[in-house]
C-alpha cells in the first residue's frame, strides 16, 4: 500500500528533458549511486547536494521528454525523491518511473499554485494533492488499475517476482 507522501517541492519548468535530469556523459558510469551526484547538473549544479530525502519534483508540461534512459527516474529515486508531479509526462519517462516504483502524478492545476520549498501532501490512491503551505487542495489523475498494481508492488520487478 502506498502511503500519503509529504515533501518539500522543487519546481522546474516545461519540457524538462532526460538530458537535463542526467546528462549523457554519466550514463555509462557503473551504477546509479555514482550517477546520482550529477542529477539536474545542467539546470542546477547544487541540486544533488542540497536535495533532501522525501522531496518532491514539480514539473510543467512534458516532463521527462527525450531519451528512454531509465537512469533519469533512477537518479531521482536514488536521491530520495518521493514523487514527481507534473502537468504532463513524456510517455517513456512515465513508464520508467512506474516500473521502478517512483510515483508519478499528473495534475494540471497544482503547478501554478506551488512555489519552491512549499510542502505538498500527495495521496496517489485517492488522487489528491494538498499544498500544505498554501492550504489549497487539488485533484490529480488516477492511475489505471494495472499501472497502480505495478506501483504498489514497488515496480515491475517486484510485480513480476510476485506473480
Amino acid at each position: 500500500m502506498i502511503n500519503v507522501i509529504t515533501g518539500k517541492a522543487w519546481k522546474f519548468g516545461n519540457d524538462v528533458d532526460t538530458d537535463q535530469i542526467i546528462p549523457s556523459q554519466y550514463l555509462l558510469l557503473p551504477n546509479v549511486e555514482e550517477m546520482k551526484q550529477y542529477t539536474f547538473e545542467p539546470l542546477d549544479e547544487n541540486f544533488a547536494s542540497t536535495v533532501c530525502p522525501g522531496d518532491i519534483i514539480v514539473g510543467g508540461e512534458n516532463f521527462g521528454s527525450g531519451s528512454s534512459r531509465e537512469q533519469a527516474p533512477l537518479v531521482l529515486k536514488a536521491l530520495g525523491i518521493s514523487a514527481v508531479v507534473a502537468k504532463s509526462f513524456a510517455r517513456i519517462f512515465f513508464r520508467n518511473a512506474i516500473n521502478i516504483g517512483l510515483p508519478v502524478v499528473i495534475c494540471k492545476e497544482v503547478y501554478d499554485a506551488v512555489e519552491q520549498n512549499d510542502t505538498l501532501e500527495i495521496d496517489v490512491l485517492k488522487g489528491t494533492i494538498k499544498n500544505v503551505t498554501e492550504d489549497r487542495n487539488f485533484t490529480s489523475t488516477k492511475l489505471p488499475a494495472h499501472v497502480m498494481n505495478i506501483l504498489e508492488a514497488g515496480g515491475l520487478i517486484g510485480f513480476l517476482n510476485k506473480k
Binding site: 519540457d15 551504477n31 512534458n62 531509465e70 513524456a90 517513456i92 520508467n96
Partner: protein, 418 residues
C-alpha cells in the same frame, strides 16, 4: 469500425481480432534490442533482481554497442565487456562498432508488421518499414528480454497526409522538423504518428525512416508508414521474406489529420534548446558555427551522405570550423566508399568517423566546449546535449550542415544544389 495499421499490429501481437485506443493489452514481442547506453543496468536487473537464467528467445534478443564506441574510458570498456560476456553466454546476436543500433536493426532484422521493443527512444524508426517499434527503459526491456511480452496501452493515431514533391535542397529531414515545430514536443504524446499520402508513397525507405525516427521528439509512441513494394523490396533484398503487410482501413478512426505540401517546404532549422523551436532557414539570421555533424539514426544514411557530398565536392570547409561525419552503419560506410563520397569528405577537410551515435549524444566523440555552437543532423538539441551545459545545438538537414560548414555560419543549402 476499421482499424489503423498501428492498431492492427498491436491486435496481432496480442492475439486479438480488434483493439481500441485506451485498451491495455499484453503483447508478444517479435524482436527486442538494447545498446550500451543502458545494457549494463539491464544485465544487473536480469541477473540480480529477476534472478533470470535464460532470455526468452536468443534469436530475438539483440545487443548493439553503438553509443560510446570505441570506448573512451576504462569504465566504458568495462560496460562493453559486460555486454559482450552476456551476449556470448546467452548466444544472442552481438554487434560492436558496426553502426547505430537502429540502422543495424533496419538492415538486418526488422520486417513489416512486427512489434519491436528496444531500450532506446528512437526505436520508433522501424515504422519506416511498417513495423511498430517503441522505446522503453531498462526495467521494461529486461522484463521483455525475460518473458517476450510487454503490456501496452493502445494509442490514438494522428495522420499526416503529405503531398507534393521536395524542391532541390529540401529533404525528409526538413519535413519532420517542420511537423514537430508545428505540433510541438508533446504534440503526439502517447500517440502514433502515421505518415501517408501520395508523397510518402514515393519516398525511399531511408526517407520514411527519417520521418518515423523523430516521432518520439513529438512524444509519440511510434511513427508508421504503410508497407508497400518499396518496403518489401528493401527487406527481401536483405534475405527476409516472412512479413505481415498491415495497412489502415478506409474507415479507421484518427484522432486528427494534418496536411502538408512539400512544394511549399523550405529547409528548416530547430534552434536551441528544444526540438520544436523550428524556423525556416531564411529566418535564421547570422548564426556563426564552430562545428558541424552529419550522422545519427536520423540522418546518417547513404542518401544524406550523397546530399552532403554534392555540396562539399571540390570545396574546402571553413578553416575555423570542424565537420564530423559518421556513416550510420558499416554498410552505409562501404557504400559511401564505393561511390567516392568519403574521398570528397576528406578532401573538403571533414573528419570521417567510425559508424556510431557519435556527436548526436554528446558523450563520446566531437564533444563541444563552453559557448560553442554545433549544427547537427542528430536527433536532439537539448541544452548541453553535445557537451558543455552552456553550448548550443541547431538541428538541420545534411545539406544544410554541409553548406554551413563551408561558410562558417548557418547557410541555406539551396544556393549549393542543382
Amino acid at each position: 469500425m476499421g482499424m489503423t495499421m498501428g492498431e492492427k499490429i498491436l491486435a496481432r501481437a496480442s492475439g486479438k481480432d480488434l483493439v481500441k485506443p485506451g485498451e491495455i493489452i499484453t503483447a508478444k514481442v517479435d524482436l527486442c534490442m538494447s545498446n550500451d547506453g543502458t545494457t549494463h543496468l539491464n544485465i544487473d536487473i536480469f541477473e540480480n533482481q529477476l534472478k533470470a537464467e535464460k532470455v526468452f528467445d536468443p534469436e530475438k534478443v539483440i545487443f548493439i554497442v553503438d553509443h560510446n564506441v570505441p570506448s573512451e574510458s576504462a569504465k566504458t570498456a568495462q560496460v562493453h565487456k559486460k555486454m559482450r560476456i552476456f551476449a556470448q553466454k546467452h548466444d544472442i546476436p552481438f554487434y560492436e562498432g558496426t553502426g547505430v543500433c537502429h540502422q543495424i536493426m533496419i538492415e538486418d532484422f526488422v520486417v513489416p508488421g512486427q512489434l519491436v521493443i528496444a531500450a532506446d527512444s528512437h526505436t520508433c524508426s522501424y515504422g519506416g518499414l511498417g513495423a511498430f517499434g517503441t522505446g522503453v527503459g531498462c526495467t521494461d526491456f529486461t522484463s521483455v528480454m525475460h518473458t517476450g511480452e510487454i503490456w501496452l496501452m493502445v494509442p490514438e493515431t494522428l495522420k499526416f497526409e503529405i503531398e507534393g514533391s521536395f524542391k532541390a535542397g529540401v529533404y525528409a529531414r526538413d519535413l519532420i522538423l517542420k511537423i514537430i515545430g508545428d505540433i510541438g514536443a508533446n504534440g503526439a504524446n502517447y500517440r502514433i504518428m502515421e505518415f501517408g499520402g501520395p508523397a510518402v508513397k514515393k519516398f525511399t525507405v531511408d526517407d520514411r525512416v527519417v520521418l518515423c525516427n523523430m516521432a518520439v521528439e513529438a512524444g509519440a509512441k511510434t511513427g508508421l508508414v504503410e508497407p508497400d513494394q518499396t518496403a518489401i523490396d528493401y527487406v527481401e533484398a536483405r534475405g527476409r521474406h516472412d512479413m505481415n503487410l498491415f495497412t489502415s482501413d478506409e474507415d479507421a478512426v484518427y484522432e486528427k489529420t494534418y496536411q502538408y505540401n512539400l512544394d511549399e517546404l523550405e529547409p528548416m532549422i530547430a534552434i536551441p534548446h528544444c526540438v520544436d523551436d523550428v524556423v525556416g532557414v531564411t529566418q535564421i539570421g547570422d548564426v556563426k558555427i564552430d562545428q558541424g555533424f552529419i550522422g545519427s539514426c536520423n540522418n546518417g544514411r547513404i542518401e544524406e551522405l550523397r546530399a552532403a557530398a554534392q555540396i562539399l565536392q571540390g570545396k574546402k570547409i571553413d578553416p575555423y570550423v570542424k565537420l564530423l561525419i559518421s556513416p550510420a552503419s558499416k554498410a552505409v560506410f562501404l557504400e559511401a566508399l564505393a561511390e567516392g563520397l568519403i574521398d570528397i569528405f576528406v578532401e573538403s577537410g571533414a573528419m570521417v568517423l567510425n559508424p556510431n551515435c557519435s556527436v548526436c549524444w554528446g558523450s563520446c566523440q566531437g564533444v563541444i566546449g563552453e559557448g560553442e555552437t554545433l549544427i547537427s543532423t542528430g536527433t536532439r538539441n537539448f541544452k548541453g546535449r553535445a557537451g558543455h551545459p552552456n553550448s548550443s545545438v541547431y538541428l538541420a538537414s545534411a545539406a544544410t550542415v554541409a553548406a554551413s560548414a563551408l561558410t562558417g555560419k548557418i547557410t541555406d543549402p539551396r544556393g549549393f544544389v542543382v
